[in-house]
Amino acid sequence: MKSGEEVRAVDDMDLMVPEGEFLTVIGASGSGKTTLLNLLGGLDKPTVGKVVVGGVEVSGLGEAELVRFRREKVGFVFQSFNLIPTLTAAENVEAALAPTGMAKAERLERSRSLLESVGLKDKGARLPVELSAGEQQRVAIARAFANQPKVLLLDEPTGNLDTATGKDIMKLCHENSKKQGQTVVAVTHADYVKEFTDRLLYMRDGKVSSAAPEEEL
């Protein structure tokens, strides 16, 4: 993957993630982790090579199909939560359901039940600024699960959280994804994420390997 003129953010990668697996990719900042997730989630396209998710070649999809793919097949959780600041917790979740054409009553019920599943039953009317960092990330998780995606992509989901809250969040993602049979790819540099993963890969300079780099060891 070329980013700019010369930098290859993801380079010569041959990665296969089986359905239902919780894969964690650990790497330092700038190692290409986010680019890898952007490629898997259809936010970026590779300059060379292809990305196939659930039998669909994402890298070959047109604009309309990509929108549908992002809406129905993947759920994103970002490091900085990325909630819409003017919308309440419930509306943030509803924002992911709105483009599907789901009826308003159904959307409201679904966002309520999703918030309940992440432990925020009574906080649907709160604005992001009125929630703690952990609670904001829970809202982001509820939003990621909104359309029951096949693939969940976690981009440094614990990066802005303390260790205890981070572990709670990872546990929540792990339990929910296993319950729904989702494939999870999490990129992080938090060591404790290892506890929740089925497989661990290390990423450096755009390349992945199953062996930890020397400095990691």
């Binding site: 604009e63 129905e72 819409i84």
Partner: protein, 379 residues
């Protein structure tokens, strides 16, 4: 979609910018509504008294057409020259003219003396319905007169009194109250032949005013044009023209009101485009998030569109109220008629809404073009 909820919240978040944008639309619509309502109200106020005497057009000659006879200032600086009474029949033949009625007016100092044909009871300088005491004139009357009731009060005139004008003495047979006297001021009315004989100079067969009623008031302008073409030197004056000619108040026409408002609307659109572009730029990351969670280009476009249109709609509603209030204030002080025309209000609202939508076009296109990954990389 939750776009309208989101749009409202976004507008609230950017209070200062939203207020400026809405204020722009308010100015556009308020100007349109105020100017159009004021122009119409003033026109209606001017036309109303003339309608009371069955008149749509007053036709005068602004240049001499006959060598003798009596001309008259019918209003401040509006002088009419005498013309042949026989022309009245020709004027009545012009397409669209229903009635053409001869009038001879003469002014001496502050008093106006008017000769009328009392057989004309639908269109005339004074009608039987204007009589408040006594009787109307008949064609057989000689030295008798109708007197304006205000003038009668000032001069202690009653029915049976004698009123003098130049060398003539007339028995007062009726007192009249004519609203049109505000526009065509007159104090003493006599039979036309009596008037023609009593005035200085040879006025036989001459008049200096023709009062016209038309079959379709919407065609007043076209009929006026036709009269001007057929009768050289004539000046047909419609009610709205008379307002401009007889008053010192600058009356802005409806067309001018529209032109001013459209020019203001263009400025408001440009300001809102700039403002919405800044909003899109500030929200690049948000747009990236929405795209990442499955919003399509059209979803993003409608979001920005709704925000612009909402500002236009709010500005339109407030502008209608402000404009109408301003028109009401102006007309109340000018003595005009305040009339709420739903079409003007709808047009004002429509201009604001269309301007709002137009202002959202380019910013929403810019927002839709953003790729989610690039947008998310924005800090």
């Amino acid at each position: 979609m939750i776009t309208h909820v989101y749009a409202l919240k976004e507008l609230r978040r950017r209070k200062y910018r939203t207020t400026i944008n809405i204020a722009g639309f308010v100015i556009v619509v308020a100007t349109l509504v105020a100017l159009v309502t004021t122009a119409r109200g003033w026109e209606a106020a001017t036309a109303e008294p003339l309608k009371e005497i069955g008149t749509d057009i007053i036709m005068i000659y602004s240049a001499p057409v006959v060598p003798s006879g009596t001309g008259c200032y019918i209003a401040n600086y509006l002088f009419t020259f005498p013309f042949n009474q026989t022309d009245i029949a020709e004027i009545a033949k012009v397409d669209g003219v229903d009635h053409a009625v001869p009038v001879l007016m003469h002014r001496m100092g502050a008093v106006v003396f008017t000769g009328i044909d009392p057989c004309e009871t639908e269109t005339n300088a004074v009608l039987p319905s204007n009589v408040v005491e006594g009787r109307y004139l008949t064609s057989d009357d000689g030295a008798v007169a109708l007197v304006d009731c205000e003038y009668a009060k000032l001069n202690n005139l009653t029915i049976g009194s004698e009123v003098r004008y130049m060398k003539g003495v007339y028995d007062v047979v009726g007192l009249v109250d004519v609203d049109a006297a505000n526009i065509l001021p007159s104090h003493i009315y006599v039979n036309l032949p009596v008037c023609q004989k009593s005035l200085p100079g040879d006025n036989t067969g001459l008049v200096n005013l023709a009062l016209l009623s038309v079959s379709d008031p919407r065609k007043v302008d076209a009929i006026s044009e036709e009269l001007k073409n057929q009768f050289a030197g004539s000046t047909p004056i419609a009610a709205s023209d008379l307002a401009a000619k007889t008053s010192d108040i600058i009356v802005i026409g409806e067309e001018t009101a529209w032109n001013i408002s459209i020019a203001l609307a263009v400025v408001a659109v440009l300001f809102t485009v700039r403002s919405q572009l800044a909003a899109v730029s500030e929200r690049t990351r948000e747009i990236g998030i929405l795209k990442a969670i499955g919003w399509s280009k059209s979803n993003v476009v409608s979001q920005i569109f709704i925000e612009s249109a909402l500002q236009g709609a709010i500005g339109g509603l407030v502008g209608c109220a402000v404009g109408y209030g301003f028109a009401w204030y102006l007309l109340s002080n000018m003595g005009g008629l305040v009339d709420v025309d739903p079409i003007v209000l709808a047009a004002g609202f429509g201009v604001a809404l269309i301007s709002g939508v137009a202002a959202g076009l380019y910013p929403s296109w810019r927002a839709a073009r953003l790729t989610p990954a690039d947008a998310l990389r924005t800090v």
